[in-house]
């Protein structure tokens, strides 16, 4: 054993010398700007990096078929009105710093309501056909949003991001082009300013990301015509809204993400001329939103369906969303 003592000694010296080299040899992967622009919704930073610009559009489509009653039961709309609503939301996000992001969004609305009913008048033994044709197209409301990483995710396992947004009523709020009580153009805007604040939290355990958010929307008062026969605008105030959501996003492969979100929204009663009105009842809804998001380099394409699960005084029809985004 003594014969090999020097060999053991040399081995020990080599081990001591080379061990730090082995340990320090593992380096953190440095992401280039091109890598960052190609990150998916799971791996991307919560807010855009400084100097980056993201432009995107969301296309929403919904048909009016069923709704949740005030007892929470899902029922068909009884009268034969065909109603469809689609909106094209255009959003631009810019990273002011690695933690601060600003976003401006506006939308183009396209709503339609059509119906045909027959009226049999016994006294004159005649039939009258009543045609209802309404459309609402044009620029809707706009939003300005600021997001800031309060607890940045590069230092902590869980990130917390705060956001404040202002809703600007840029859309037409009153019925226009009134030809008759049945034929006119629908409003495309809400007619009141909003102020919203919220928190968004996220953690990434690759290939998953877990998200949670809470948001409160305060509705300011506004003035608008609720019926086509209204001569003057009425003062109104929609109920304030609280929204919460939890989500799990999963990387199916390196460039496809399966997103899942459960959302709860509660809206208080609204008033017209300081009186509660059946036109703006208390509403709440629980919905599930599965989606697929494809990341092809800097280009992102996503589709999702918001499925209302439970609710009160809200539409019960799925909302289809197609998303296209590009990072410059």
């Amino acid at each position: 054993m003594k014969k090999y003592a020097h060999i053991i000694r040399y081995s020990l010296v080599f081990t001591v010398l080379f061990l730090p080299a082995v340990i320090c040899g593992q380096v953190e992967k440095q992401l280039t700007p091109a890598d960052i622009k190609q990150q998916t919704i799971v791996t991307e930073p919560v807010t855009l990096k400084k100097g980056f610009l993201r432009a995107g559009t969301l296309m929403n489509y919904r048909i009016a078929d069923k709704y949740f009653t005030d007892k929470g039961e899902k029922e068909y709309y009884t009268s034969n009105v065909w109603g469809s609503k689609s909106s094209y939301n255009f959003a631009f996000q810019y990273g002011i710093s690695d933690r601060l992001e600003v976003e401006f969004a506006t939308e183009y609305m396209n709503s339609r309501q059509e119906s045909q009913t027959s009226e049999f008048i016994a006294a004159t033994n005649t039939t009258r056909t009543v045609l209802l044709k309404q459309k609402g197209t044009g620029i809707g409301d706009s939003y300005l949003r600021i997001r800031y990483q309060i607890v940045p995710e590069n230092r902590h396992r869980v990130s917390v991001t705060g956001n404040i947004s202002v809703g600007i009523p840029t859309g037409e709020k009153n019925p226009t082009d009134i030809r008759s009580a049945e034929k006119y153009d629908l409003p495309v805007g809400s007619g009141n300013f909003t102020l919203a604040a919220g928190l968004y939290t996220r953690t990434i355990i690759y290939p998953y990301s877990f998200t949670g958010s809470v948001n409160y929307v305060y509705n300011f008062s506004g003035k608008k015509k609720f019926n086509v026969t209204d001569i003057v605008e009425k003062e109104f105030k929609p109920g304030n809204i609280i929204e919460t959501s939890v989500g799990i996003n999963l990387h199916l492969n390196e460039w496809i993400v399966f997103s899942n979100e459960i959302n709860y929204q509660h809206k208080e009663k609204g008033t017209i001329n300081d009186h509660y009105t059946p036109l703006m009842p208390l509403t709440w809804a629980v919905s599930y939103r599965p989606g697929l998001v494809f990341q092809v380099k800097k280009f992102r394409l996503g589709e999702s369906v918001t499925i209302p699960v439970k609710g009160k005084n809200t539409p019960a029809d799925p909302l289809y969303v197609v998303m296209v985004q590009y990072v410059f």
Binding site: D65, Y76, T78, V81, S118, A123, I256
Partner: protein, 358 residues
């Protein structure tokens, strides 16, 4: 001498060991089979492969074709509607050439008719009775049990298969008791009647299915054709609900009637382009025709209307992971007769695996 014998024996055995130790090229590597591109796949699943499809179709019925093939726009009269169609299909490869399958569906569809208002006027008042009507179809469909056999050859550029199956009337098709209601009563003779008829899904009788498929591949391009025929095994008996409105309350009674389902022909022709190993893009054309059959009304048999519909479907199939694929198609009605003509989006998640193989 004894040692020499042992050495000789070892030298004799070892080469054999080396020769046979080379593993056989594993043709049944499950990841290779699971990620097999469409243009290299046979018409049936592989031996031991389980394939589960879960699909959702959202259809918007904004127009229909009348008996002369003229398109009628339903959204203009407010009688357009939507379908929510859910679909599950399970396939198992008994061998590389025989596949067993089972499928069913769930549908939810409400069709509104044009509302009618009846106005009677007297010297003192005008009475208005408005009638709204909705026909709702909701529930699980029958379960189709099928078996498919394909040519016992390795797929290279041509394949042919034949399928036989039967829809088991598990949905027990039967009209449910309606849920009519009287609402908005403003005066004794002014109110709204909401008629709500409820139908279930399914055929109500066993229905046979016969089908054949053929597939041709030339490099990245493939052509697939499919012919399906469905015919009822026998006449069916069901009930039809009728009602009387007495003092704003409905009294229901049912009447039995017989029916014979129409025969149905379905032809599909699709052209595929395998853009990369994980992306197959294709266009499918579908021709559907029904003929024959009758339905009994008040003791008389009336022939079912013949229907026809041609639909064009741009589609894609995307391999997400070895065991997961997503298929999506959009359907555009082109031509038809006596048929609803919905535009639809159909998304299917396809899960495949070999549960009994390592």
């Amino acid at each position: 001498m004894k040692i020499n014998s042992y050495i000789l024996a070892i030298l004799f055995i070892l080469p054999a060991h080396f020769v046979y130790s080379q593993p056989e090229l594993n043709k049944r590597d499950k990841y290779t089979l699971l990620t097999m591109p469409y243009n290299m796949r046979p018409l049936t699943v592989y031996r031991g492969q389980v394939q589960l499809d879960a699909g959702y179709k959202f259809a918007i019925r904004t127009h229909k074709y009348d008996s002369e093939g003229k398109s009628l726009f339903l959204n203009k009269t407010g009688t357009g509607s939507v379908y929510h169609y859910y679909y599950v299909d399970l396939k198992y490869g008994l061998t590389d050439f025989i596949e067993l399958g089972a499928q069913t569906n769930y549908i939810r569809h409400g069709v509104r008719s044009e509302s009618e208002t009846y106005v009677t006027a007297s010297l003192t008042a005008a009475d208005r009775v408005t009638v709204n009507k909705i026909n709702e179809v909701k529930g699980f469909g029958d379960i189709l049990i099928s078996a498919t056999a394909r040519l016992p050859i390795q797929y290279k550029w041509f394949d042919f298969s034949a399928t036989g199956g039967m829809y088991v009337p598990s949905a027990e098709y039967r009209q449910e008791k309606p849920a009519h209601a009287v609402a908005n009563i403003t005066t004794a003779n002014s109110y709204t009647v909401n008629l709500h008829y409820k139908y279930t899904n399914g055929f109500g009788v066993p229905v046979y299915l016969l089908a054949s498929q053929a597939k041709f591949t030339l490099r990245k391009y493939s052509l697939q054709t499919e012919l399906t025929f469905r015919t009822p095994a026998n006449e069916g008996t069901s009930i039809r609900w009728e009602e009387n409105l007495v003092e704003k309350k409905f009294i229901y009674y049912d009447k039995s009637y017989k029916y014979l389902l129409s025969d149905e022909w379905d032809v599909n022709l699709s052209i595929h382009y395998q853009a990369t190993g994980w992306f197959d893009i294709f266009i499918n054309s579908n021709y559907r025709k029904t003929s024959g059959g009758w339905t009994e009304f008040w003791g008389n048999k009336y022939k079912n209307r013949e229907t026809m519909l041609i639909t064009l479907e741009p589609c894609f199939e995307l391999q997400i992971s070895p065991s997961l694929r997503v298929c999506q198609n959009a359907g555009f009605p082109i031509k038809g007769k006596n048929a609803d003509a919905p535009f639809y989006l159909f998304t299917t998640i396809r899960f495949s695996n070999f549960p009994f193989f390592r």
